[in-house]
Amino acid sequence: MPFMNSRKFNWLVLAGFLVCVIAFLSFFFFFVRFPVTRDFPWVNLLLFGLAAILLVIGLQRAFAKADEYRGKIFGPILAALSVVVFGVFVFALFIVPRHLPAAHGAPQVGQKAPEFSLVDMNGRAVKLSELLTAPMNAASSVAGSSASGHTPKGVLLVFYRGYW
């Protein structure tokens, strides 16, 4: 016969916390790669929802059935940590990325793109006018495509934050 103090391990609380950590990390290590799951992090929010359900049921067991389940102490601690993790996620996904300067002075449609000269990875100076007139590299174009070896129709300037 089991003793009264040999209560069952409250695995739902631990599972809830682990799902919460996975919900956080999986965005930055996996879901960030795909526009469908990055533009709006719906998969991660679903995972956080699952974590919340597990934690709520686990905590209910810890307190309402305290003679049957453990977790009165570590339950609330893991739940609080999960809330912190979720808070950091919301901050990193919905608050920080919206603090971008407005760029009101950026060249608009119909305006001339300012000419520039910048160095490429080989330290060679490259001008916008050269990028617009140099033939497209046939090797990196689709075989047989009309674009091969022709001057480009246009240049896509992609400004990015850098390797941070």
Binding site: P35, P41, P97, P114, L156, L157, F159, R161, W164
Partner: protein, 108 residues
């Protein structure tokens, strides 16, 4: 960047040459391209002069508080005229290759 590389053939088939610009040094860009497998042109603007001229500077937003570029995409036609602009309001939301290809179809 990742999605541009993935759709590079389709973008180049439209006659569009993608060019990435950041404050990273040529050395850092080379490391990034090796690591991530990017094969298009990367240009370095360490003093953010061109980034400033295009008004896409994000002051103090780098890891060490340095000035960097905010994400932005400009499609420039053969005459040097801007034909399409994408200034995102959320740096997780970037231009999709389909948008670029759609805009490229309007060029001649």
């Amino acid at each position: 960047m990742r999605s541009i590389e993935r759709s590079l053939d389709a973008i180049e088939a439209q006659g569009i040459r993608p060019v990435a610009i950041s404050v990273d040094s040529p050395e850092d860009s080379r490391k990034l391209c090796q690591k991530a497998g990017y094969t298009f042109t990367f240009l370095s603007d360490p003093k953010a002069e061109v980034i400033r001229r295009y008004d896409v500077l994000h002051p103090g937003a780098g890891v060490n508080g340095q000035d960097i570029a905010r994400p932005a995409e400009f499609l420039v036609d053969a005459t040097g005229t801007v034909r399409w602009v994408n200034l995102t309001e959320n740096f997780w939301v970037r231009a999709r290759p389909e948008q670029v290809i759609e805009a490229a179809k309007a060029l001649r």
